[in-house]
Assembly symmetry: C2
Homo-oligomer: 380 residues x 2
Amino acid sequence: MQEARHLQQIQPSYIREILAAATAEGVISLAGGLPASDGFPLSLMAESIAQLPNTPALFQYGETAGYRPLLAYLEEHYQVAPTHRMLVCSGSQQGLDIIARAFLNPGDGVAMEAPCYPGALQVFAMATACIHTVQQQATGPNLGELEALFASGKVKLFYAVPDFHNPTGISWTLETRKQVAALCRQYGVALVEDAPYRELRFAGEALPLVASFCPECSLVLRSFSKVSTPGLRLGVLSAPEDWLAPLIKIKQASDLHSSLPIQALLLDLIAHPQFPTHIQQLCQMYSGRYQALASALSESLGRRCEFEPVKGGMFIWLKLPGFDPLTVAKAALSKGVAIVPANAFYPNDTAPDSAIRLNFSHEAPDTLRTAVRRLASALV
Amino acid sequence: MQEARHLQQIQPSYIREILAAATAEGVISLAGGLPASDGFPLSLMAESIAQLPNTPALFQYGETAGYRPLLAYLEEHYQVAPTHRMLVCSGSQQGLDIIARAFLNPGDGVAMEAPCYPGALQVFAMATACIHTVQQQATGPNLGELEALFASGKVKLFYAVPDFHNPTGISWTLETRKQVAALCRQYGVALVEDAPYRELRFAGEALPLVASFCPECSLVLRSFSKVSTPGLRLGVLSAPEDWLAPLIKIKQASDLHSSLPIQALLLDLIAHPQFPTHIQQLCQMYSGRYQALASALSESLGRRCEFEPVKGGMFIWLKLPGFDPLTVAKAALSKGVAIVPANAFYPNDTAPDSAIRLNFSHEAPDTLRTAVRRLASALV
């Protein structure tokens, strides 16, 4: 049977292909966006996990919007705008897919910074949206380009990752946040703020969500994969109350609701008195891994590479002037290290910059150093 | 922001609306498709649940197709055709949504028996498919009608629930199974066999899956909601190997993969030496509840109602000649019992028959008898 037309342009995620290759014996993978398995807060979860069978109601069908006690807790503690309502999703990836299905008609315009998160490219391509990219700068999106695009009337949604962007690690300045919010308001564009890395800050001050400056035209995606564990598959989507009905319709038709025992576990975890300490420890761990990777890159590659320092998140965006990123990725894999070439982060796999994405959250400092030596040997 | 056009025709599921009303204090609900909470195999799961934190790998990102040991077990024990491959889904509802998104173009034809499962109507409407219904008889679909429809060339998929159909409880005869398979082969129609109630047989002999007679043009959806617990949200989809790639693409873009710890729990449960005994006990319990409901209906309503006996599943399809089903549903709710009117099981909410669906799996026999007394008092 032939696949549907809207799928025929879409290749399976290159990143996930590399992830598969990266599991080969002896390969060090800096390719994924995997959190550190040794940083999982399993000890904080063990008691709740063991108690689950004592609450049969958690194993019954539940409400589409989510487990009510979890929603109530998030409303109070997760900077949700007072005018927003929430929907629990199976990871923020699902939240994004639900937004696209709820609001996009074929050909509708979606703006994104380039380079951009491949999972979002996939979702919007599947919705047969028309994707417009805006150049990313050290402060956030190029505002002149963004305004020109908004003014053209072609854009319905602006998808953004303002905290520790994937793949570049860049965080928008406060001024950029306010200006983007003002532009969304002025031109009637809905902001989709994806914030999976927001809590992974190891330097500098947290800035407000962009959505806090334009809650009436924003949807916010929060992921728990990075601060709890990805295997749970939970995230939460918040949106103005009158935008919730179509989101709920899609969630209902697509899987009725997310796993209830898992939602109850997540609530116990994020409400645990030791949870803030867990986040601090996680950030310290990632800070150490980032420093190890950054130092090794400077030492081994010197002037052959360039990268902006990051203050959090999981990635270094390594520019390698004069190298072809796909060739680098293949050569690196042959030397036993997996990375993702810039191509994966642009529509149509065409990258204007010679860059690769390196993950620093998953491997220990020594392994990161070995990986950099292998990468350097691939660049001769 | 306006919802996408493909959503504008779709009302939130009437059943789930009723489920919400049905949770009001004092209302007995025969409206849902809820398994018995007191039949959940939690004691068989407790040990595995407690052990989960000892395997951090289960909390990391996993493969899109599913947890490999679970897939391997299912391949061996779940009547999967040798030429099929599997994809673990967040409930078989998600499997159905993924099939529709993977293979349907706008306007493609989908055949279903009428009355039909509202969750399937929702999915196919959302895919902007063209839905064709075929009358259901005591043996299965009207084969003459089905062949005429297939011969018209208008149908790409035939969605079917051959075991203990929702809402009617009817199971197809062996002869019908073979003939439907032959028709699918002859006319190049893909069969989507949804089998959530298959294991809930309390009388008669199990018959082969329809897909076993035409595996090369079948997709099979198996749910674990009825035999384990619905809160887990797990099902599995199997399809010919060369149909799997588009299904995987959709699953990946929509939520990356289903919860890993939950998949590991399910594997431990279905491989538990006591699991077959659990299924037997569940069927005995449902048999008792069915008998209680059936007897109470005959006693209280006598000739005002008609229904076919069922040999399993969760539902009685109660015909009430001369009554308007929506009026009955409202009157019943005012007397403290929730049921679903026939309208919910037809495209466009227009029911040709005066019938209501009654669930017998969720409530104890005494409660079922009380519910029938309330229903009878609403029918005066």
